[in-house]
């Protein structure tokens, strides 16, 4: 207890110093850090300095060493070599609790909440100084105050179970803020946030940095990085490649540093000629979730679903895929009216849904790549005794490995061993193998690195060119704008507008998504 008090006091002191002169004393210094896991050199001689009040972006493909560095800062891993200095004094960080005491907190891409505890408890769970007795009333009040500061309306009494990812992320941020940290690590905090929420978050991040908190910001969204960062550091293959002030860094040179080669920025997908009408949805609804959704999807068309998280876009996908069947409306596929009550029926009709949540809903992590790929189509791989033809299975997996360039030593490895981007490709393979005519992609590039993202985008273009009708659900506005032929915008379970490609831009989409005087142009497809 006393230890943490002193830590807080020290924290306050350093903040004051920081206000006097920014670049004076680094709040955190990592010197010549090296870390090896078995055969992999995860980090090699990395030195990184964080100053009070700076927003320091960390870029790099998955596996470049960013996560390892973060885990060393938060005490999850110990470095093999090198030293860590906090306010000029060398420290050892043995575990997460210790790193918190030292004033370092981290927010991860996958929120680590306690689903059975309520929001307020989740915010204050790591507070050692709130005493042994829980003062519920005061805890709820404090939690509400912190959330209000964040501009988030959230019932602090409800359990975290069932909160949307964005809401969970808000709780994580509130948690970090409540700790009065000196160094805040944000590992892809925006991955599951919509544009508006990102703006909110950034305002908050700037507030924090004004108060002297050093922020280490990891993101794969280039435009965000250049929106907020003071400094940009790029990692590649366990090494620190470059650290540039914002004024010198450009998206182009950062990407070059990341991939080690020249690479283009996000380019609009060339429009493909639209084919026949494939899917026609009218008045689709599910009680209490979404209502009156109508749209058409043609062969070779990419129909984007935009809007805020929790607007009901995923729920439409789930209804079409039969996980949570719709309770109202009609679905006409290839000219025939169909009812979809289960995923099996939906798959039989040629619909595939690639879930937003790879870990929980998409893949069976301990199972092999090939087993995951053939899972929905297992019937095709059985011999006449009902046994699995493993050679055939492997051949399919190898074909996809080639086609989608899945980077792995073998298709027999468990998918848990793959990076996020490669896992996403396994997901895609799994569903492409069902040879769908309608492919629903839910946040297909969330949390994957730039290179993999570009590959997924190319893939989407190719699939559309092959005549598949694609529904692309994405909170990444630039992505959905560049990839879609038309864009359907949802707000709170209602369809706000369908934009044609030329009418869709950041403002028009956001206006519709926010529900402020729905754009007149575009209009709802009849």
């Amino acid at each position: 207890m006393t230890e943490s008090e002193t830590a807080h006091a020290a924290g306050a002191a350093s903040v004051r110093r920081a206000e006097d002169g920014r670049a004076s004393v680094p709040v955190l210094e990592m010197r010549n850090i090296a870390k090896r896991f078995d055969a992999t050199q995860a980090l090699e001689d990395v030195s990184l300095t964080l100053y009070p009040g700076e927003i320091h972006a960390l870029l790099g493909e998955n596996g470049a060493g960013k996560s390892t560095l973060i885990k060393i800062m938060t005490g999850v891993h110990q470095p093999d070599r090198g030293e860590i200095l906090l306010a000029g004094k060398p420290v050892t960080i043995r575990n997460a609790a210790e790193s918190q005491r030292l004033g370092i907190a981290a927010i991860y891409q996958e929120p680590l909440l306690f689903p059975d505890l309520n929001v307020a408890e989740n915010i204050f769970i790591s507070h050692q100084d709130r005493g042994q007795v829980v003062g519920w009333r005061e805890m709820f009040r404090d939690a509400e105050a912190i959330l209000a500061k964040l501009g988030v309306a959230l019932d602090v009494r409800s359990t975290a179970r069932g909160l949307t990812l964005a809401a969970q992320q808000s709780v994580e941020i509130a948690k970090a803020i409540s700790l009065n940290v000196k160094v805040l690590i944000m590992d892809e905090p925006t991955a599951s946030l919509s544009a508006h929420e990102v703006a909110q978050l950034f305002k908050l991040v700037r507030d924090l940095s004004d108060q002297g908190v050093a922020i280490l910001f990891v993101s794969h969204r280039m435009e965000e990085v250049f929106d907020i960062a003071d400094k940009v550091t790029v990692f590649r293959d366990g090494q620190l490649i470059s650290t540039r002030p914002r004024s010198e860094a450009t998206p182009q040179n950062s990407i070059t540093d990341m991939v080690g080669r020249e690479m283009g920025l996000l380019q609009p997908r060339p429009p493909t000629p639209q084919g026949d009408l494939l899917l026609s949805v009218r008045g689709l609804g599910k009680e209490g979730v979404f209502e009156d959704v109508s749209f058409d999807l043609h062969r070779g068309e990419v129909l984007g679903f935009g809007g805020l998280i929790g607007a009901g876009r995923t729920d439409i996908g789930l209804a079409l895929f039969g996980i949570e069947p719709a309770t109202a409306g009609t679905i006409v596929l290839n000219g025939t009216e169909v009812t979809i009550r289960s995923p099996g029926e939906s798959m039989g009709l040629g619909i595939a849904y690639v879930s937003e949540d790879r870990r929980q809903l998409g893949l069976s992590m301990p199972m092999s790549i090939s087993a995951n790929i053939t899972l929905p189509t297992l019937r095709r791989y059985l011999n006449r005794f009902g046994l699995i033809r493993t050679a055939m299975e492997r051949a399919t997996a190898e074909a996809f490995r080639e086609r989608l360039s899945i980077r792995t030593a073998s298709v027999d490895l468990p998918v848990a061993k793959l990076s996020g981007g490669n896992q996403q490709k396994v997901m895609l393979s799994k569903w492409l193998n069902t040879k769908p005519s309608v492919l629903i992609l839910d946040e297909p590039t969330r949390g994957i690195d730039v290179g993999a993202k570009a590959e997924v985008h190319t893939m989407i273009g190719e699939l559309a060119a092959e005549g598949i009708g694609i529904i692309l659900i994405s909170s990444d506005l630039p992505e959905v704008l560049t990839m879609s032929d038309r864009l359907l915008v949802m707000r709170e379970g209602r369809q706000m507008a369908i934009f044609d490609r030329e009418d869709a831009n950041q403002e028009s989409v956001m206006t519709a998504a926010m529900g402020q005087e729905a754009a007149s142009e575009g209009g709802v497809a009849a």
Binding site: I125, S158, G288
Partner: protein, 353 residues
């Protein structure tokens, strides 16, 4: 209603649905059995659930952290027997000391479980399945098949089950029932108002996150096993007082009854949710079913079949009621929504279609 929904969450009224079921059961049985609504029925059920309830409290703590303790029956047997033997040899031991001895022995046995689970990293079901056999085996070997007999015990102990703390009309509130009730209240308060208690929920709810934020998982899991052992020890003492004669068979099979009470009481067997109160209601539910079936004019041979069916129906209807409650809440729940800039209060959730 809105105000109520704001302050009372479906997870907290989990017990409400069980209470509802208990009332239904009492009404149904009351219409089938003569003289059912008497103090006698109350007294029977109250005293028959005392032992199960005490053990179920400890079990709940363990289950909350995503573990299970199957050795409780053997711990109850060991403590009942060895405390009995100790008391038979020293009849003038102070009662408090006797209780302490039982609790201490239970704690030690629980601590052994805890060490294996927390630091040995052996899954709790394996550890306690093992110690279930080992503790019983030790008891049989060490006892040399002797029996603790009632006449060797001091009279204060033998008469303990008869001691009434107070009575409201004909409703007796006996010492043992009150002891169980007290334990329930203490631990219910502890798990809702102590940081320590809330951390047990945290561990069971998301062990990875618990580890990441640096909760002392091992120590807490160890603690729950010690507490489970201690409470089983206390239950062993109650068993000794209640039955007087203690053979090495005492408490055998108790683990299944306790797990049944905990499960019927709505404690999630995979950790993280459920309450001490719920476990007690689960024990009471099963107690009511058993006691009432004894009294029904049905063949002795039909009892188990009916009991099994009723437990199943209790669990099922409980799940259905709970789901109803949840959806009721969800409908009126504040939906999470990012607050639009300078737009006053969060927008109301749209009206249902």
């Amino acid at each position: 209603m809105n105000w109520l929904q704001r302050y009372v969450r479906p997870e907290q009224v989990r017990e409400l649905s069980l209470l509802l079921l208990i009332i239904v059961a009492v009404i149904v049985f009351g219409s089938m059995i003569d003289n059912y609504y008497t103090s006698r029925t109350f007294n029977r059920i109250a005293s028959s659930v005392a032992i199960i309830t005490i053990v179920a409290v400890g079990q709940t703590l363990v289950v909350l952290t995503r573990n299970i303790d199957l050795s409780v029956g053997s711990i109850v047997g060991c403590t009942a027997y060895f405390t009995g033997t100790l008391l038979a040899q020293n009849n003038d031991l102070h009662p408090l000391l006797v209780v302490l001895a039982a609790v201490a022995l239970g704690s030690v046995l629980g601590a052994i479980n805890g060490v294996f689970v927390a630091w040995g990293r052996v899954p709790s079901i394996i550890v306690t399945l093992g110690t279930l056999a080992i503790y019983r085996g030790l008891l049989v070997d060490l006892s040399g098949a002797k029996t603790v007999t009632t006449d060797s015990l001091p009279s204060w102990l033998v008469d303990l089950p008869r001691v009434n703390l107070f009575a409201i009309g004909e409703f007796d509130f006996r010492a043992m029932f009150m002891l169980a009730l007290m334990i329930v209240i203490i631990f219910q308060v502890g798990t809702s108002f102590l940081a320590l208690g809330r951390r047990l929920y945290a561990i069971g709810s998301n062990p990875d996150a618990a580890k990441l934020i640096g909760l002392p998982i091992k120590r807490l899991v160890f603690l729950t096993f010690v507490l489970s052992g201690a409470l089983s020890g206390l239950a062993g003492f109650v068993t000794l007082a209640r039955f007087g004669n203690i053979t090495v068979e005492a408490g055998r099979g108790l683990e299944l009854e306790v797990v049944a009470a905990v499960v019927v009481g709505g404690v999630n067997i995979f950790g993280g949710s459920g309450t001490i109160m719920g476990a007690m209601l689960g024990a009471i539910m099963i107690g009511i079913l058993e006691q009432s079936l004894f009294r029904l004019q049905i063949s002795e041979f039909w009892r188990d079949a009916l009991l099994g069916l009723l437990i199943l129906l209790a669990v099922a209807s409980d799940a259905v009621i709970l789901q109803r409650l949840r959806s009721l809440w969800a409908r009126a729940d504040l939906k999470f929504i990012a607050k639009p800039p300078d737009d006053g209060p969060a927008p109301e959730r749209r009206a249902p279609p």
